[in-house]
Amino acid sequence: MKWRRTWAVAWKEWREVMRDRLFFAMAFVVPSMILLVLGYGLSLDVENIPFAAIDYDKSALSRDYLHRFIDSRYFDYRGEARNVQQLDRLLAASRIRFAIIVPPRFQERLAASRPVAVQSLIDGVFPYRTQVSKGYVAAINADFSAHLLTDAIAQRQGIPRARARQFVTPIRLDARYLYNQAIRSRWSMSSGLIMLVLMVSPPFLTALGVVRERENGSIYNIYASTVSRGEFIVGKLLPYVVISAMNIFILWGFAVWLFGAPFKGDPLFFFTASLVYVICTAGIGLLVSLIVRTQAAAALLTMVITFIPAMLYSGLLVPVESMGRETQIEAHLFPTLYYLRIVWGSFLKGLGWPMLWGNVAALVAYAAVLWSVGFLSFHKRPRQ
């Protein structure tokens, strides 16, 4: 391995990327764009759910009941509907996601200690949101019922409301949220997306860079010269690793300053582990470049084999533990899982080497395998 030749290849590649507008954009603009677009767009928080209501009772109590929903930060009250047909239309047009119908004689029946059924229509198209909405509705409804019960007991027994409340809800849940105290999905999402961007961008650049040379024929300069395949691969990929390393800083900055995610861990550990990760994912690009012949095919294949694991098998959207057995095994075959643990561990949990070294080791092993396979399947005297 001669460093002079390796350096020649790397320096040539670096200048090409920096001068080619399209490549420059792919190297520095696209990664940040992905983070911004998905960081803002891919929020899993269910808030501001639009709803409407019909109050057939129009009593003090029914207004009180509805205000529990109207005042909640989870709901966005769009006004009162005239009749059920209008609600149907609003639901069908997705103007509202659920509706509440308070029946006539609501107050009267409750005062007479008779049960009342309030109807709630919930849009079930997107099950996750439906479940969460239903949970909120049920919680508000239960709270209101408990409130009424507390009032009734206090009145009947002649005891203070605080005492009566203890009878009604003897067990009080005391939840403390760790790591992400405000339960902002934006924190975990913006940091988690670093994993996705660094899974997609380095192999994309690498694969296009190598395939472009083959498509043009300039690869023959390498084949026909005395440069060894190791020198070529290292020199060719080095600029892309450097660019991706710069992107680690840029993306980290976006997550911390723009999305306000806390970074509690060891910066040195995080950047070291991230560097291993981009070396590893650049290796994926190297393998892609050896399989396909055209830049279009390289781009497509890279998107498919990087985006899907990063989205579905990393634990970004669904915790790996909640996946099926086979899916869990699959998830462990991709580097994304290990790196996401490193990202969230570093950002939100403040962990470092002692807890996460195993994940770094997995990435190192992954990178070693990819680069070795790439090295062995690259030939300077190919069959075609």
């Binding site: 001669k2 002079r4 030749r5 350096w7 020649a8 290849v9 040539k12 200048r15 090409e16 001068r19 080619d20 043009n216 024929g217 300039s218 023959y220 300069n221 390498i222 084949y223 026909a224 010269s225 005395t226 440069v227 030939h379 300077k380 005297r381 190919p382 069959r383 075609q384």
Partner: protein, 680 residues
């Protein structure tokens, strides 16, 4: 002197490359089958053949960048049979792959490109500086050091590629089609530089080309076709393998003469107002007699007989090996005027529409360009181009890649709006009647624009529908296309699986399905072998002569230009010559002088002497030197005297007819000189 002797005494030297029974397969497809080849030290060895002949595969294998399936290969006496053994020869080899400038880095400057290649080869700074200086000076690129490669012209890219291939001082350079798509001046320049390198550094070269007329540039060559070597040896020796003469005569009526000749001779072409016949196994005089006898009863004018060219020999050899069948252009009956095609003279856009452009008695103008200009940003691709094409005329627009030919066609066909200027096609104004123009013209693009996954018949039918051929004429039109293009046996085959030559004729048929009066052909023959090219031109001649279709064709094959009735040469967006081929040659002889060919026992010495002697247009063609002389009577003895004084022997000086390439080289150089003087 020493080096020159080396070249000429090369037979005794050990071979640089030895290939035995070479076989290369791509999956199941055989690309090269049993090729033998020996390249001697110090020679320029040529591989000539059309696309798909196997040249590239062979060259890549010799360069050690492609594995092969059978046979033996030795380079510098070193056996190359594995990736590891191939590494052993690479320090002494320079390889330039096919594709003009494609192996260079567009974003890097000229100097950065050179430096990169030097760094790959671990050249020391001192050696690099010295060689770079020398090569840049030789190629006249020194003033463009800092220009990004993407802004170089085709000829400059090619020279830069050559520098990059030579920067490490290889013993053997392998150059894959270095001259394809380059303007004629740059081509000549390239050969001159290569000859100079050969002289000064003792570099051996293995060079491929698709241009048959470049054969004279090689010391020895192999003529390749479909993975095999048809013939090998010195250019003269190959001609001797298929002996014969070429007879050229102006004849009236041309179509009937072609038909008559087609019954007795296999290689018959119409060129401008003339016909050109290859007569096998006959010296010129006998050949002229035979052609004269065959054409008894026709009006003959200016009958000439002379030596055959390599392309004639190539086709004759193919016939001898029964690798191809040169049928008469079409069935006999089809040559009867009027029956062959079913053109409706009253069709819209017909000849009568354009009559207003010409005065009474003038032939009808079918295509007219007046001061066409097209800018792309700051770059002027087409600069004040004007010309006229008359009905039934074949008009050739010539120029290198990037000269602006395609842009002109796109403007005339209404695809691209011009920045300035106007044009009329088939009587319709190009700017206002875009749609009307499209119905009156046929257009065949460089890429053939056929649907590869449709059958031949489906493609024809599709084009007929696109051009709204009335339903009642559909059947007749399809039959006409099938007959005209000779597609009878392949109508049900998938287009993508057909050979290039047939695809090309199909594309032509599709462009003609709606009976256009004007036909635009954009590089229709690139990549097609000589047999296919000739067949194609036969159809074009027929269309123009019998059907009075006006044809505008672009090409960068100078030999093809001879077929055109009228030519315009484009250079850097401008038309720098506009006349008939004959007039252009006559003009060259009138202004620059007669072309002389000088043969001697030591051509490199002769070249140097004659260059120093102040002759115009001195260039090396293989073992001979060409130059231009105003006063032939005085020049011939003077040249003899000078070369004899230099100690050369076997000197002969013979006048030769100039080719179109000579014309264009002269014109372009005159223009460049003008531009330089203008700056000063």
């Amino acid at each position: 002197m020493g080096q020159a002797t080396l070249v000429e005494a090369s037979a005794a030297a050990p071979p640089m490359v030895r290939v035995r029974g070479f076989v290369k397969r791509y999956r199941r497809q055989v690309a090269v089958e049993g090729v033998d080849l020996t390249v001697r030290r110090g020679e320029i060895y040529g591989l000539i053949g059309p696309d798909g002949a196997g040249k590239s595969s062979l060259m890549k294998a010799v360069a050690g960048v492609l594995s092969f399936e059978g046979g033996g290969l030795e380079v510098f006496g070193h056996r190359v049979d594995s990736e590891a053994s191939a590494e052993g020869i690479k320090a002494r080899i320079g390889f330039m792959p096919q594709g003009l400038g494609l192996n260079l880095y567009a974003e890097l400057s000229v100097e950065e490109n050179i430096d990169f290649f030097a760094q790959l080869r671990e050249l020391s700074a001192g050696v690099l500086a010295e060689r770079k200086q020398k090569l840049l000076a030789m190629t006249r690129l020194a003033q463009f050091r800092d220009r990004p490669m993407k802004h170089l012209s085709g000829g400059m890219k090619q020279k830069l590629g050559l520098i990059c291939t030579l920067i490490h001082g290889p013993d053997l350079v392998i150059l894959d089609e270095p001259t394809t798509g380059v303007d004629p001046v740059s081509r000549r320049d390239f050969w001159a530089i290569l000859a100079e390198l050969l002289r000064s550094q003792g570099v051996t070269a293995l060079v491929s080309t698709a241009y048959m007329d470049e054969a004279a540039r090689f010391h020895r060559l192999s003529l390749m076709y479909q993975g095999r070597v048809l013939a090998a040896g010195e250019p003269e020796a190959i001609l001797e393998q298929a002996p014969g003469s070429v007879v050229s005569v102006e004849v009236e009526p041309q179509i009937a003469a072609l038909r008559r000749l087609g019954t007795s001779f296999s290689q018959v072409e119409g060129i401008g107002p003339r016909v050109r016949v290859f007569v096998p196994d006959a010296p010129p005089e006998a050949a002229a007699e035979r052609v004269g006898a065959t054409l008894a009863g026709f009006r003959l004018k200016d009958l000439k007989a002379g030596e055959a060219e390599l392309e004639d020999a190539f086709i004759a050899l193919l016939e001898k090996r029964r690798l191809t069948r040169i049928s008469p252009p079409a069935s006999d009956a089809s040559y009867v005027e009027g029956k062959w095609g079913r053109f409706d003279p009253g069709a819209p856009g017909g000849a009568s529409d354009g009559a207003s452009h010409g005065g009474t008695g003038d032939p009808v103008v079918s295509i007219e360009a007046r001061g066409l200009v097209r800018d792309f940003g700051a770059f002027r691709a087409v600069d004040r181009v004007s010309f006229q094409v008359r009905a039934g005329e074949i008009f050739g627009l010539l120029g290198a890649n990037g000269a602006g030919k395609t842009t002109v066609i796109k403007m005339l066909t209404g695809i691209l709006p011009p920045t300035e200027g106007e044009g009329a096609v088939a009587g319709a104004d190009m700017r206002r009647a875009g749609q009307a123009i499209k119905a009156r013209i046929g257009y065949m693009s460089q890429a053939f624009s056929l649907y590869q996954d449709l059958t031949v018949l489906e493609n024809i039918r599709l084009y007929a529908r696109i051009y709204a051929v009335p339903h009642r004429h559909l059947r007749a039109r399809i039959d006409w296309v099938v007959e005209m293009a000779g597609l009878a046996g392949v109508t049900g085959r998938l287009t993508g699986r057909l050979p290039m030559g047939i695809r090309q004729r199909l594309a032509l048929g599709c462009a003609l399905v709606h009976q256009p009066r004007v036909l635009f052909l954009d590089e229709p023959t690139s990549g097609v072998d000589p047999v296919g090219r000739r067949r194609f031109w036969e159809i074009l001649i027929q269309l123009s002569r019998a059907e009075r279709v006006s044809i505008l064709v672009t090409t960068h094959y100078m030999s093809e230009a001879e077929h055109c009735d009228h030519l315009a040469l484009m250079y850097a967006g401008r038309i720098i010559a506009d006349a008939s081929p004959e007039a252009m040659k006559a003009d060259l002889q009138a202004t620059a002088g007669q072309l002389l060919e000088v043969a001697s026992d030591r051509p490199l010495v002769a070249l140097e002497r004659l260059q120093r002697g102040g002759y115009a247009g001195v260039a090396l063609f293989g073992r001979r030197v060409h130059l231009l002389a105003r006063d032939v009577g005085a020049a011939i003895p003077a040249i003899r005297r000078e070369l004899t004084a230099a100690g050369l022997r076997e000197i002969s000086v013979t006048p030769r007819a100039p080719t179109l390439e000579d014309v264009f080289v002269y014109r372009i150089m005159a223009m460049e000189r003008q531009a330089r003087e203008g700056i000063q």
